[in-house]
Subunit: 398 residues, 2 copies
């Protein structure tokens, strides 16, 4: 039978990253392509302890139907945490638990964007979010990302030129894939531009708590007194991605529509995971846990950057990072990026081709993304050395 | 700020059932409006045991990112179970784990239905699915449900008259809300009609394993040699709804698009829940567990039907059921259903107004739905007596 497929999915392809995972599943391949937290970063004993307590003493809470908005005590805990720690949340806002932050992208698009409407994104940006937007036939408009955030001139031009812009999507801290943190000045400027042009901002902050150097920069949502920012948070990098729990803070009117959409998407988020997250935040030392994560990643980032300086510089350049899980590397103009990534796979090293993160994958791109949180130190050293050797060979025309 | 909302959500309302839950949360109210499994139906000790084992011996499997298609061993277990037990799954099919069966409705609509395309539904039908369909601006066409399934003449007329019909949605066993089981003859007839008109079938079977009397009827998917049926299964009624795990079996070409949509929706389903489900199915006696559930519900159905005969007949009539969680009750023509349901709430009994299950909620409806799995026996007796007294008072014009 020839199947009729909706216009939405006609051009949707599986994420390039997920496709690369197929190579990465080969145990002889060193994968620098994933985005998994370091396995040592999970509070395994605490989760086991909490889970055992819940399933012994109040199993029905974890096993029965729950409500769409999320487990009430977790919502209260997160509201207080966001307010006290990040100055996020005003009287007009609501906080809702989601099935990972990915679901925030899905629900925001479903609620706010008609087919053909425009979403402004950083270029490059996180492929998972871009695919969420594409699945609703949104038009994506990429704004070049500089070392301190989006190019403001290009952003304003886009706001002027594009019709029906529904929101500006930004990952403000340690952006995926570029590692860029948007400066405070640019955050304010982006906020003011959004306000001027009557457009919302979707601020995605999965890595904010993983800063390993420098000072925290206030999130855009923290100065949202006008109700124009939807903030997406996630437990994936600070507790467990397998649990699939994220949340959003958004003006109640927008939140109420996102909740109705969530009813139709998955009814509610896994109840056990929500209770575990709440117990972990309230009965254990969440701050000490975050500090432990930062020290794990601080060490790993330092180690990786040394390897990059030793093995791939100066042929391949990269942006130093203050946190997050990814480093963005740039090949010299003479090297074709796609060829480089394919050759690397033949030598058993997987990286993600940079064009996967562009709004138009056919655009020229000389960069690729590496991750350092999943591989071991030995794999990192071996893999990065192979990448450097390959670049030099390609430059020398071998 | 005045928010722009997508056309999709302009008319979407929170599910009437979820709204009724607000009354039902009042502890002095007897709720016959939920659809929660009986709390005694959860294999609490087994789940605690399995969970403890996983989190002690291989925590990273449960906590790390997993793949979109689902935990591989669970997919294999379900494939074998569906094949051996239900003759479901051909070489052209694939099986994918989802975040509850609700997500199957969402992904199927996202992948197969353009805005304005038609989905044919039973009338009445499950409100959660109708809202999933509505969220993609599908046009809903309801086919009157008879005691043995859809009216075939009306179905064929709709297939002839409606443009761009993408699928026929049916809950073939113990339908929600009507309790109707579609006969084998009608299942074959629906299949042949779908084939004749080149339309898919979405067969939703959350209650199939909860048959308490009569013989099992083969599912439509079991005779799908043409690749035209998407089958949705669920652990919500046989293991735990709070875990949010369902699955679908669909032709691979359709499944591959639904998988890409799932990547953008929630990346993957909670990993812990998937492993728990797999261990429960493979290391424990799943059949004995189902038998235990059936005996719990058999007793409860028998008890409830006796109460209905005693307290509400003959004024209110109802369809006897062979399984599932719901009984559909019909008021005499003289009683206005909406007034009846509101009066019942004032007397502290919640039922779901029947029009909530119609494709057009403004249509006349004389029925309401009750659930017997959530309330205690005492609540059932008290609640049903109140309903019967109310009906008689309204008839006598008091």
């Amino acid at each position: 039978m020839e199947y009729f497929l909706s216009d939405r999915v006609q051009t949707l392809k599986p994420s390039a990253i997920r496709e690369i995972f197929k190579y990465a599943a080969d145990p002889t391949v060193i994968s620098l392509s994933a985005g998994n937290p370091d396995p040592n970063a999970f509070p395994v004993n605490e989760i086991a302890e909490i889970s055992n307590d819940i399933l012994t003493n109040r199993p029905i809470d974890a096993l029965q139907y729950s409500i769409t908005e999320g487990y009430a005590p977790l919502r209260e805990t997160l509201k207080a945490y966001m307010k006290n720690r990040h100055n996020i949340g005003r009287d007009f806002d609501d906080l809702v638990v989601t099935s990972g932050a990915q679901q925030v992208m899905d629900l925001a698009t479903k609620s706010l964007v008609n087919e053909g409407d425009t979403i402004i994104c950083e270029a490059p940006s996180f492929i998972g979010s871009l695919n969420s937007f594409r699945a609703y036939k949104a038009r994506l408009c990429g704004i070049p990302l500089e070392s301190d955030g989006m190019n403001l001139k290009a952003l304003e031009n886009a706001l002027k030129a594009e019709k029906n812009v529904r929101f500006i999507y930004t990952i403000s801290n340690f952006q995926n894939p570029s590692g860029v943190t948007t400066s405070l000045e640019k955050r304010h400027a982006i906020y003011e531009l959004a306000k001027k042009y009557g457009v919302l901002i979707l601020e995605d902050n999965p890595y904010g708590d993983l800063r390993v150097s420098g000072d925290d920069v206030p999130s855009i949502k923290s100065f949202d007194n006008d109700g124009i920012v939807i903030y997406a948070g996630s437990f994936s990098k600070v507790l467990s991605p397998g649990m699939r729990i994220g949340w959003f803070v958004a003006p109640s009117e927008v939140a109420s529509k996102m909740i109705v959409c969530k009813q139709g998407s998955d009814v509610h988020t896994n109840a056990w995971a929500q209770i575990v997250a709440n117990e972990f935040m309230t009965k254990y030392d969440f701050d000490a846990h975050l500090e432990r994560l930062r020290s794990i990643y601080r060490e790993k980032i330092c180690f990786t950057q040394k390897l990059l300086d030793k093995y791939i510089a100066p042929e391949i350049t990269y942006n130093k990072i203050d946190g997050g899980l990814f480093i963005w590397c740039r090949l010299p103009d003479e090297i074709d990026m796609t060829t480089f990534c394919s050759e690397a796979v033949k030598r058993k090293v997987c990286v993600v081709p940079g064009n996967a993160f562009l709004t138009d994958e056919k655009e020229q791109c000389h960069s690729f993304r590496i991750n350092f949180s999943t591989p071991t130190n030995e794999q990192l050293e071996k893999g990065i050395k192979i990448l450097g050797d390959l670049a030099r060979e390609m430059l020398n025309g071998k």
